[in-house]
């Protein structure tokens, strides 16, 4: 019998997806809000279950691998899924009351792609998983009422189309790169790629493969879709889109670069270095000029990706552990920040500084949450983002990239300007609309959970860090 142990979580998730689909058929109109809660509960349950089952080992004749590294990403996707379901349930219920089932099923499918991918040890399986994740995201991004010409969905088709075009082009580029790699090595198994000698052709193949993944994580120079898509799509979905696919993209990058081409680091390190330096630079620079907060956070996310890539650049267990910690901190921080924006303007997809102006008067709790998220993004002590930045800097030091630490720190000062601009508007300016903000209960709960995690991970990072380090060590065997 085939050993499907490493795929247990994914198989259960697949089953749950069809379960939600059937429940959707059975639920009458007007009661479909329950689907969002159901999704959240099922994902949370699966997250708990993931602590009690053994998913280590190898499956599908070595094409699939389960270990602590893979499990980290699976859990990460599940947590992101729980947060987004609770954060978006009210939005989905109000705007697409009859099509909630489709929304949640698509969400579960994209999550399935995310849980599957990190374990893929074959280039083709990797790309299939990428598409399983990517296509539902496109549909979710363009989710809007067809009659909706002025509402929050007015730009959603455009956003979805951009995501679709970029996504398909990037897949094509990746495939092209993979075909070159296959031509050189004669195999698609990651474990067998290591024997390829460093050659100009390998450089080309890697460059193409990396370009495709660069699109997914939204790194410069493949970032053009990010701000447009974020701006046009519904905010709760952006909270998910800005975090979860990035983690999966990093899992894919780590699989190709570290499992496949660890010995050819000389060929890919300059590419990674170029991408991360330009991402940090242009992300921060463009964020400075943004008036739309979702675009601002989009550019800040581009810069954050650059910082995360420092972990990848070091290509050792130490650096990858730091990368995982960074992504985990980024999950709670960035999702929280977007969800606060959503709570402030639940019926619009365009959110500007005017919306958060005087937020501390309108909702002290949301203002405090937003402040903590911004401080975390900026990397100020006592919140998780500080440790995240610090740890990647430490990893860079260890790997000998002292100048990169200096560069990263200087760019972090630039980032302060725009993060402070939001905090300033929220706390130091008078509201344009003094009405207190009413927040949907489950959305409020997610924001508070994110805030609590940002603080807890900020005050006591040790256990989380150790978890991340253990996961990273698994990647290196």
């Amino acid at each position: 019998m085939m050993n499907l142990g490493p795929l247990t979580i994914d198989l259960i998730l697949c089953g749950l997806t069809f379960g939600v689909l059937s429940v959707d058929l059975a639920l009458p109109h007007g009661r479909k809000r329950a689907l969002g809660y159901l999704t959240a509960v099922l994902l949370a349950g699966l997250f708990v279950v993931s602590f009690f089952i053994d998913v280590s080992g190898s499956a599908l004749s070595g094409a699939y691998q389960g270990d602590a590294w893979v499990l980290f990403f699976k859990r990460f996707a599940l947590v992101a899924g729980v947060f987004v379901s609770l954060g978006a349930v009210d939005y989905v219920d109000r705007h697409f009351p009859t099509r909630q089932g489709e929304f949640w099923v698509l969400m579960l499918f994209t999550l399935l792609g995310m849980t599957l991918l990190p374990g893929a040890r074959d280039l083709l399986l990797l790309i299939v998983c990428f598409e399983l994740m990517g296509l539902p995201l496109v549909v979710l991004a363009s989710f809007a009422k067809s009659e909706d010409k002025t509402g929050p969905g007015q730009f959603a088709p455009e956003a979805g189309l951009k995501l679709y075009l970029v996504s398909s082009v990037s897949t094509a580029i990746t495939l092209y790169g993979v075909s070159i790699i296959y031509g050189l090595s004669g195999t698609t198994k990651l474990a067998e790629l290591g024997g390829v000698g460093v050659s100009p052709m390998l450089f080309v193949g890697l460059a193409f493969a990396l370009a495709g993944m660069g699109f997914k994580i939204g790194a410069v120079p493949f970032h053009m879709w990010v701000p447009d898509t974020y701006q046009g799509t519904s905010t709760p979905f952006v909270s998910f889109l800005s975090v979860a696919p990035k983690a999966t993209g990093f899992a894919a990058l780590a699989a190709v670069l570290i499992l496949g081409f660890a010995h050819q680091k000389a060929a890919w390190a300059p590419l990674v270095l170029f991408v991360l330096v330009t991402s940090i630079f242009f992300g921060n620079l463009f964020a400075l000029a943004q008036k739309d907060l979702k675009r601002l956070l989009a550019y800040s996310g581009i810069a954050q990706v650059g910082y995360m890539m420092i972990g990848l650049l070091t290509a050792d267990a130490y650096g990858m552990g730091m990368l995982l910690f960074y992504i985990a901190g980024y999950l709670v921080t960035n999702m929280g920040a977007f969800l606060v924006l959503h709570a402030v303007a639940p019926n619009r997809s365009t959110i500007t500084l005017d919306d958060v102006r005087g937020l501390s008067r309108r909702s002290p709790r949301l203002a405090l949450a937003l402040l903590l998220f911004l401080l975390s993004l900026a990397g100020i002590p006592f919140v998780v983002g500080f440790w995240a930045k610090l740890y990647v800097f430490m990893a860079a030091y260890r790997a000998g990239y002292t100048w990169l630490v200096l560069y990263g720190a200087l760019m972090a000062i630039v980032a302060l300007f725009y993060y402070l601009q939001i905090a300033k508007a929220a706390y130091m300016e008078e509201p344009t609309d003094a009405e207190p903000i009413r927040v949907d209960g489950s959305l409020d709960a997610v924001v508070m959970a994110c805030m609590a995690l940002v603080v807890v991970m900020g005050l006591y990072p040790s256990p989380f860090l150790q978890g991340a380090m253990a996961a990273a060590r698994a990647l290196f065997g």
């Binding site: 002590p381 500080f386 002292t402 200096l406 720190a409 150790q466």
Partner: protein
């Protein structure tokens, strides 16, 4: 007693939590609660003082437990003579300030007192931290509440001032973080402890870079000329309580950073660059004083006076002598009390007339005699009148700068002038700062209190209330105590400073003789046995320092290079 120290550090933060969780309260009750918490904290620190042994040069009341073990980050706290009195100053100033600003803040009072309490915890934490990392964390933690204090409750241009304050400080501290990481990156892993950082010897070139990074962070905080530009804005726009805490304690953290971290960790660089630091300090003294003189705005005047007074502290530190450094720490205390008092008095006027312009006042002495008495008294203390608090510190600093034991005592060739004795020139120029201080402070006193009473609005101005007198009385008393009985504090400061100065000189490969009257340069290389800690040969190139020939007849390059180890 170590526990008591930790309680003192976290009590304000706990008070802030308490205030945050209380149901809606009247403003009076919120302020009263905050004052009660901080007063209790002050009383606790007095208890700590009774257990404190001043003659002990090392750390007392230490706590040392693991925090983030995998990175060698420990929760290590303790106090010595350098930090202890600054802690007392902090716990004393905060309740006094809150009482002084009773009426100054009427909006969002709960947030205001929470910010002040968190700020107090941050400052105290930075003073007690003996782990580089812990220090950095507290150092940054002070930033956010202060940012809000300026930005939310400040004056007209508060947001600009707050952002400028934040960016300046953050820029400096990020560079410091990089240097901290560099220092902590030891071959066996990470080690952030202060003790191990101080016990190591870095290559002189490396030292220069690391010292530069630390110095920049601290110099911005002090603030030293020419990175002082955030201070006048921040001070002027901050509410009274913010200004008092900023001037009273926050700036001192810069000086404290010099003496606790930058100097003992990078002694060779500290001594090699002493002339530059001393020169900038004197530039700050004179620039700050002249700038203060021409300010039409009282608060700005006091702000620039801080630039000048803190210049003295930097000069004392740069001298690396026991007198100079003791004077610097003492001047920190004195300046905290007197400038705090000045800011409170300016705030009193502002609350009554809503203007800070000198030209709007005049002739107040007859209308508000009690206020006038306190203003004259505080101004004189700030100007360094003997018998008042400003005098002993400045005197010791100038003395310590003048002595031959200082690395400032070199002959520098100035084109056109020939060789000049740096220490003497710096001392003379620094001393003019004392005169200038008298000029601008008395100028302010004269403009506000004396002359004809022109503005009719000043006719109805009220004198100090009982509350305000209650605030000013302890400050005035301390100005006298600090002026007449400096020994109370000096006996605790000196042993630690002595230890620090000896360490710095020893690690830099010199013997330091505290004999200030020595005519000859005592700054001589010791025999190999006297400096076992020095790992690498000391490279001092007399040509680069532009020393005049003949002056160092006893000192030749081959003397400085450490003899090869057998």
């Amino acid at each position: 007693m170590a526990d008591l120290l930790n309680v003192i550090v976290y009590l304000p933060a706990l008070g802030a939590l308490l205030l945050a969780s209380l149901p809606p309260l009247e403003h009076r009750n919120l302020k009263a609660t905050a004052i009660a918490v901080t007063t209790l904290n002050f009383l606790l620190s007095l208890i700590l003082w009774s257990a404190w042994s001043p003659a002990h040069a090392g750390f007392q009341f230490e706590t040392n437990v693991g925090w983030i073990q995998s990175f060698g980050i420990r929760y290590h706290t303790g106090v010595d003579g350098l930090s202890f009195y600054l802690i007392l100053l902090t716990t004393f100033l905060v309740p006094v300030t809150l009482l002084g600003a009773w009426n100054a803040v009427e909006t969002r009072v709960r947030e205001f007192v929470i910010a002040i309490l968190v700020l107090e915890s941050g400052m105290l934490g930075a003073f007690v931290a003996l782990d580089l990392f812990l220090f950095y964390v507290f150092w940054e933690a002070m930033l956010i509440p202060m940012y809000f204090v300026i930005g939310v409750w400040g004056g007209q241009r508060r947001v600009y001032a707050a952002v400028k304050f934040f960016i300046f400080t953050m820029a400096g501290s990020l560079l410091m973080l990089i240097a901290i990481l560099y220092v902590a990156n030891v071959p066996t892993g990470w080690d952030f402890s202060w003790a191990s950082a101080v016990s190591r010897n870095f290559d002189p070139t490396l030292q220069a870079w690391l010292f530069g990074a630390f110095m920049l962070a601290f110099a911005i905080k002090v603030p030293m000329f020419p990175v002082h530009t955030w201070l006048p804005d921040a001070h002027t726009e901050a509410p009274t309580a913010g200004s008092v805490i900023l001037a009273g304690v926050l700036l001192k953290l810069g000086i404290y950073g010099f003496v606790r971290f930058a100097y003992p960790m990078f002694p060779q660089a500290a001594i090699a660059y002493a002339p530059i630091i001393g020169g900038l300090a004197v530039a700050g003294i004179i620039y700050g004083a002249v700038a203060a003189w021409v300010q039409p705005d009282m608060k700005k005047l006091v702000a620039y006076s801080s630039v000048s007074h803190l210049g003295f502290c930097v000069l004392g530190v740069a001298a690396v002598t026991v007198e100079g450094m003791t004077g610097a720490v003492y001047q920190c205390l004195a300046h905290g009390i007197s400038t705090g008092g000045l800011f409170i008095l300016v705030g009193v006027l502002y609350e009554r007339r809503h203007t800070r312009l000198l030209s709007d006042y005049g002739g107040l002495a007859r209308k508000v005699p009690v206020f006038a008495t306190f203003l004259v008294f505080t101004a004189l203390a700030s100007a360094g009148l003997p018998t008042l608090s400003g005098f002993p510190g400045e005197f010791m600093i100038l003395l310590g700068t003048f002595t031959a034991a200082s690395p400032l005592d070199q002959i520098v060739n100035v084109p056109g002038l020939g060789g000049i004795r740096m220490a003497q020139v710096l001392t003379v120029l620094g001393a003019t700062g004392v005169i200038l201080a008298a000029v601008y402070l008395l100028w302010m006193v004269q403009k506000v209190l004396f002359g004809p009473l022109q503005d009719p609005a000043n006719e109805r101005i009220a004198d100090l209330s009982v509350r305000e007198i209650a605030v000013m009385l302890p400050l005035a008393a301390l100005m006298i105590v600090l002026g007449l009985f400096p020994g109370i504090f000096l006996k605790g400061i000196e042993p630690s400073v002595q230890r620090l100065v000896t360490t710095v000189h020893q690690k830099a490969g010199q013997t330091y003789q505290a004999d200030a009257g020595a005519k000859r340069l005592n700054w001589l290389p010791a025999g190999p046995g006297a400096r076992p800690a020095l790992q690498r040969p000391l490279r001092i190139d007399p040509n680069r320092l532009r020393l005049a020939p003949g002056r160092f007849d006893a000192l030749r390059p081959e003397d400085i290079r450490r003899p090869p180890t057998p």
